[in-house]
């Protein structure tokens, strides 16, 4: 039979045979065809080979020294007149840096005696792991000497009892509410959109959980300092505090910067120094847990002057560490005392 068929150039069985014993899904081939996008090669006019962009070979990776120049190989100045570009960057004392800015902003030169003075900090954004880097962060620092920095933010405060509400209102909160307000928000009668920061007391937190989905990231938590018992200091901190962001560099993620104003030129130098120290300490709190320093360079600037005065900032961090060590020691002592007291108590109960 088969031979006959082959003689007749006719393969009855084979013609019906299929490699696949199920049907292709409808439109599969069509989809595959659509996926193939034709590459259209654009015709370009003649470019001399010198001007052609190299396609082969990788671009040179950006290094830290391209962004923040390294002066370690330059010499210390030896003469009384010296040119900064041939020498190491001068490190100023804080008073000197402020004094220099006051000189250039004197009425007879720039005539801007109350210009905001800024700290420009360079950060090492390396995380504990070598492949990870610190993300951009935004913090609010509470400066000891307040100045008009032009930042305004609206506060919404939740408290349980009316006494606390009065305290919050006196402290300067834009809107204060309790359980009633939460219900209104749930119904949609009150909108939280216009408020930048939401503060709350821990006692009202169970009720607040109802509208957690509406608040999303603004939901109060102790880590960001928006949840606490001392409403008055919290409100003053968020009203008068200075908001700043630490941004990583666009391409070099291990390099970050903070640009934050910490006072005006006409303020007292000591006040400015205290403000600067608090800024340095606050930025250093964003440091990941690794031994290398987080802030690598601190520079004091004041627009429109192009001058940037490098300042020794480590002294402020050292003080901080010393204080911390003291505080820890005290805490330990207290704990010991407490333990002793507990033991005494146990003995007493017997």
């Amino acid at each position: 039979m088969y031979r006959q068929a082959s003689c007749l150039n006719f393969y009855p069985l084979i013609s019906f045979l299929q490699a696949r014993n199920y049907a292709a899904r409808k439109g599969t081939r069509e989809k595959a065809r659509k996926k193939k996008v034709k590459k259209v090669i654009e015709k370009i006019g003649f470019i001399p080979h010198e001007q052609r962009v190299k396609t082969g070979g990788r671009k040179k990776a950006l290094e830290l020294k391209d962004i923040s120049p390294d002066d370690s190989k330059k010499f210390e100045p030896i003469d009384n007149v010296w040119i900064s570009k041939f020498h190491k960057w001068k490190i100023y004392s804080f008073e000197e840096a402020v004094q220099n800015h006051r000189e250039t902003h004197h009425p007879t030169i720039y005539n801007l005696p109350n210009e905001p003075i800024k700290a420009f900090l360079e950060l090492d954004m390396q995380h504990v792991k070598k492949t990870k880097f610190v993300d951009a962060f935004t913090r609010i620092v509470c400066l000891p000497h307040v100045f008009d920095h032009g930042q305004t933010r609206k506060l919404l405060v939740f408290c349980k009892n009316p006494e606390m509400e009065d305290i919050a209102r006196d402290a300067g909160a834009d809107y204060v509410g309790g359980k009633q307000l939460i219900k209104q928000i749930q119904n949609g009668q009150f909108s939280m959109k216009e408020y930048d920061i939401i503060l709350s007391e821990p006692t009202i937190l169970p009720d607040l959980l109802l509208i957690r989905g509406l608040m999303r990231k603004k939901f109060p938590n102790a880590k960001s300092g928006t949840l606490g018992t001392d409403l008055k200091t919290m409100i003053t901190k968020f009203l008068t505090g200075m908001r700043y962001t630490g941004k990583p560099h666009e391409t070099l993620k291990s390099f970050g910067t903070v640009d934050v104003a910490f006072g005006t030129l006409d303020m007292d130098t000591k006040q400015l120094e205290e403000n600067f120290a608090t800024v340095i300490k606050d930025v250093n709190e964003a440091k990941p847990r690794r031994p290398e320093p987080f802030i690598t360079r601190a520079v004091i600037t004041c627009s429109p002057s192009p001058e940037r005065f490098k300042v020794n900032f480590e002294q402020y961090l050292l003080k901080n560490k010393a204080l911390e060590a003291e505080a820890e020691a005290e805490e330990e002592e207290e704990e010991e005392e407490e333990e002793e007291a507990k033991q005494d108590a146990v003995i007493a109960s017997h």
């Binding site: 001399p48 010198e50 001007q51 010499f75 100045p77 030896i78 003469d79 009384n80 007149v81 010296w82 040119i83 900064s84 570009k85 041939f86 001068k90 220099n100 000189e103 250039t104 004197h106 009425p107 007879t108 030169i109 720039y110 005539n111 801007l112 429109p304 002057s305 192009p306 001058e307």
Partner: protein, 285 residues
């Protein structure tokens, strides 16, 4: 060709000893397999040594018998070290006279040999810092203390830098002022030139403003470096105000030639080095 063959052998020996010790552990790994290592030192007259190792070492021969004939495979070598590629140690030198950027007589410098030989030793600007030389040139330095050409090594460079500058002295357009030393100091610092006030000698006649007749006009101040060298620096007055609408804008002001504030200063200002030299654009073709 070889005048001192003994010297050459000694040199090769000296070269051989440190390298063989440094490679000791690397070699000891192979001692079980092969007992004999034969090094070959190729010494050429460029003071460069290639330390080679036979890939297939020659086997040991019995006592009092003829050594094995070398086979062609015994002539295949591996490169162990090329001393020409090694990082060279800097040379310790002492200057015999003033050298710009380095210092006066008797200053000790340490430089890379590639720079030290052609730039200092060959023109006899420096000598090797041996104890005898140090003593000799220290004495010379004390003798010539008073007639040093420059007070320090960097003064010449600073003077050259300053003499080619035209400093912009930015002053207020609104508040009345008289030009003082600290104005000059602050404006120089803005351009990255650091100087104390006592080094500045102001022009004899006072300059005061705001006076738009003086806008963009030149004068000069004299700067005394290390109480010794004097440079005249060209300055150009500019009026500034924080209001952007009334700010004076001059296109490419750094190229424009201007008149002096005091006409009697004109010969001095003209004698200074040019403040702007047009550079030819380099083409890539």
């Amino acid at each position: 060709m070889l005048k001192f063959p003994r010297l050459l052998v000694n040199h090769v020996k000296a070269l051989a000893t440190p390298t063989s010790s440094s490679n000791a552990d690397y070699l000891s790994q192979q001692t079980r397999i092969v007992k004999l290592f034969s090094y070959l030192f190729l010494f050429n007259f460029l003071q460069n040594t290639f330390i080679l190792k036979r890939r297939n070492p020659v086997p040991l021969h019995k006592k009092n018998s003829k050594p094995h004939r070398l086979r062609s495979r015994n002539f295949i070598y591996d490169l162990v070290e090329d001393t020409n590629v090694k990082k060279k140690e800097p040379l310790d030198l002492i200057l015999t006279q003033y050298v710009a950027g380095l210092g006066n007589v008797g200053t000790r410098v340490s430089l890379h040999p590639a720079l030290a030989y052609p730039k200092l030793l060959l023109p006899k600007l420096a000598d090797y810092a041996t104890p005898e030389n140090i003593e000799k040139y220290k004495k010379l330095a004390i003798d010539q203390e008073n007639d040093k050409p420059f007070s320090s090594s960097l003064v010449e460079k600073t003077m050259k830098y300053l003499s080619h500058k035209r400093m912009s002295i930015v002053m207020s357009k609104d508040v009345p002022w008289t030009l003082e030393k600290w104005h000059i100091k602050a404006n120089f610092r803005k351009a990255g030139i650091y100087l104390p006030e006592d080094t500045i000698t102001m022009p004899e006649k006072p300059i005061s403003g705001p006076n738009l007749d003086l806008q963009g006009k030149e004068f000069y101040v004299t700067i005394t470096i290390n109480n010794r060298e004097q440079v005249k620096v060209r300055c150009c007055l500019h009026h500034w105000t924080s209001e952007s609408s009334s700010q004076l804008r001059v296109n490419e002001f750094w190229k424009l030639p201007t008149d002096p504030i005091f006409p009697e200063d004109k010969p001095i200002l003209d004698s200074l080095s040019p403040f702007w030299v047009e550079r030819k654009k380099t083409t890539h073709f």
